[in-house]
Amino acid sequence: MSAVEEPSETGFDRTLYDRFPTKGRRPKGEVEALEEIWCGPKGWQWITVINNNYVGVYYVGAAMLFFVLAGVLALVMRTQLALPLQGVLSQETYNQVFTMHGTVMMFLFAVPAVEALGVLLLPQMLGARDLPFPRLSAYAFWAYLIGGLAFFCSIFFGLAPDGGWFMYPPLTSTTYSPGINADFWLLGIGFIEISAIAGAIEIIVGVLKTRAPGMSLDKLPIFAWAMLVFAGMIIIAFPSVILATTLLELERALNWPFFDAARGGDPMLWQHLFWFFGHPEVYIIFLPAAGAMSTMVAAVSQTKLVGHWMVVLAFLATGFISFGVWAHHMFTTGMPGTAIGVFSAASMAVSLPAGVQVFSWIATVASGKMKFNTPGLFVLGSLLIFVMGGLTGVMAAMVPFDWQAHDTYFIVAHLHYVLIGGMVFPLFAAIYYWTPMSSSRPLSEHLGRWVFWLMFAGMHLAFLPMHLSGLMGMPRRVWTYAPGRDLEIPNLISTVGAFLFAVGVLVWIIDMCRNFRPFGASAGNPYNGGGLEWLPSELYSIRSIPVVTSLYPVWDQKNLARDVVAGRYFLPGAPTGGRETLVTSPLNAEPQHLLPMPKPSGWHVWAAVFTAGFFLLLTIQAYAASVISAVLAIVCVIRWCWFLDHPLPQAKVDVGAGIQLKTYDSGPTSTGWWAMVITLVVAGMVLAMSVFSYVFLWSRSTAPWPAPVNLLPALTTGGLNLAAIALAWLANRMMKRPLLATLLMVLAGAAVAAAWGLDLNGWREAGLKASMSAQGAIVYAMHAWQGFFVGVSALMALYVVLRWAFGYVGSDRPATMQLIGLFLAYVAAQGLVLLCLPRLLALAAP
């Protein structure tokens, strides 16, 4: 207990931990009350569930559905390629199918699957009753499911995108892709990215703020570390592709030439933006799987992970380095030599943390006694496949070799080794390993072995020959190949392998149908894992939230399960009478306050339906209907927010052993504050990437980019934005006077709107046209982005007025005003960037 000697992070008296486990019996009816409060909605209302025990299972299930669907597409492609010049698929259909296979696997399977794993496992591992924003994760799930299914269905109508999952313009511009196929990709994927970001915010706040007391960062389970880095990477990486898809959609819909070389645009801008997202994406997928691997290696070897801290540092290093490797997808674009050198070095450096992880797993296996059960087999298989994929990755990081291998089947082989070894096999291991936690029956060990060996053999059979066909000159993304080039044999073997792999997946589906029985009792801890998720749990999660003193509490803390079930730790009941969980501090997990949590409701579901409706209707160009859908979505979101930020009658409650915690919080200790700040980081990343785009396009220009130089409007714009920041700050100081605070906040909103309008008007008067030049396009795109924020600000101002009308503005509930104030300050700062950037660059010649 050396931790006790350190100064407390929050002022919480850590000697209070010594009161646990408490003595004596808990009052009667406490468990029944918990059960009553946390039971899922019945009948058709199941759709409104928000408990992660449900949503997590649905989420994983939906991700696996997309895995199977995209896998079927792969089988169709392999059938077409089994022999040369087959007619199974026409050229157009094949181009759609390979685009969909990649897109669905990356966006609808891989990212959601690991995110889903987080939603399902994290509250259990952290000892929380649920994630901090259960409705947000349910919203993310429904948005993803509805949007994903609609997107997938486009293939049945021949409307599926056919520009490849990387969607390079100009092939995807209206000139060369006039149909709405590309719009399906841009809007569909843009939308699903929003869902992924929502999930990431949830995960970051969940990991940092809802851990069991005492679970300081050095006792944070390795999987949670991985999910934390993963979510952080989503926050940094996804804004780039959101911006890219927005720009391309603007180019397609409004003819704004971001990527059109003839009007000063540059198709390379897309590649930079896409791969700044696209390569970290690979590690985004890999990290949670590596976290799961690290957890399972320790469990199946029945020993602690060797080099835990090195693995954590490796995760962090992977996260950092992965943002410096994007251009290795662009080695054949004729980039200058120095840039090539830097990216090549970074691409190799990123394999160092991977080496650390692999040898940590091997060391763990050596120091324990490995059991060859199904999770164990998948762990070993994954390790081997991932190493092989990593090594071909090192090969491809060698620039001259990449000149040959790039865009050939060698790369197809490489990426499938990495993704299957780094993500699919760990995921199957995880499914077999954690099913007993959320199902009343474990999956079959007997069938599991079949699944493993079929998938393992099929995987090598399918992808090993592809290395060769690549070196034999077979390019990627070809719907057929010519006979007489000796490509028949490797391709036929690959096809056989793919079907063998599919048989493995089929056996797994059979196993799931026969044995997976969720939402009831759990099947116990058959693999004897050491984390909190293996404590006996019900829909309310664990009965009481223990004080954690070890990285492997179930292994190290004596009688933990017994005491937890007996309610001898934190929160043995429901002191506020509703759903709730403990909020703890980010470093040492000291209890800070009790977070009341929402009950099931339909509003987030409807919000998801209408958000999806907005994007889909926009895709099929039903503009009026899409606007109506957007308005309805906004109404639903506002109604959903209306539940939030209401203090409970009990200002403080006993959370166990006489420890009193607040039931309301605002500011940097509250979960809402964290979520808002992370959201603003996302927005700031979009801004940063659009600044990059501005500078990039500017640097490609042969003539200087002028900017309006009228001093008075510029100063007014700047002044208004600064005033907005001051007003928002002042509003929060005036919470004791609700009317004044409301007025100040509305004024702040008006100020950012006025500043935006003034700046925009300056550009219009200067005669800049969005469709005439790349400068026009990017200037108006940035103003459109700001306009979106101004629109949201207006909605927020309206919301504040509404709250004031209902008497909900006051010093007893400052959170909403605080968050809106933060948002408005950000919008104003963004307005200042928009004001300064073009004018500064106008002074310099490109």
Partner: protein
């Protein structure tokens, strides 16, 4: 025409159950020639995966066809002559002279006679 027909009758042909046979010709060599000359650019030829041109008639079941190009008797020597220089036999045809030698044309004909309806 009559001359052609009688020449056909006099030719050294055995019409077996698999269609006419041409002495000394090799259907396998014929197929290779069909592929290397790109006959598929105009004809759907069984045994050739691609291309499957729609310009000329499909050659499936050619052995059982009564006429070549709808107007000439489907006899081996007529076919061989046709394969070498179609416009000489039918000035309106779109099929150009192929540049096949006599021996090659016999091989190709032999291959075409393996194409029955089964």
């Amino acid at each position: 025409m009559i001359g052609l027909a009688s020449a056909g009758l006099a030719a050294c042909v055995e019409k077996g159950p698999e269609g006419p046979q041409i002495t000394g010709a090799d259907p396998a060599r014929g197929l290779a020639l069909v592929e290397s000359h790109g006959c598929g650019a105009c004809h759907v030829v069984p045994g050739v995966d691609w291309p499957k041109g729609q310009v000329g008639g499909p050659l499936k079941g050619f052995a059982d066809r009564a006429l070549i190009a709808g107007k000439l008797p489907n006899q081996p020597d007529v076919l061989v002559r046709w394969l070498r220089d179609p416009p000489a036999l039918s000035p309106e045809t779109a099929m150009p002279a192929t540049g096949l030698t006599e021996v090659q044309a016999r091989d190709v004909a032999a291959y075409l006679y393996t194409l029955d309806d089964q």
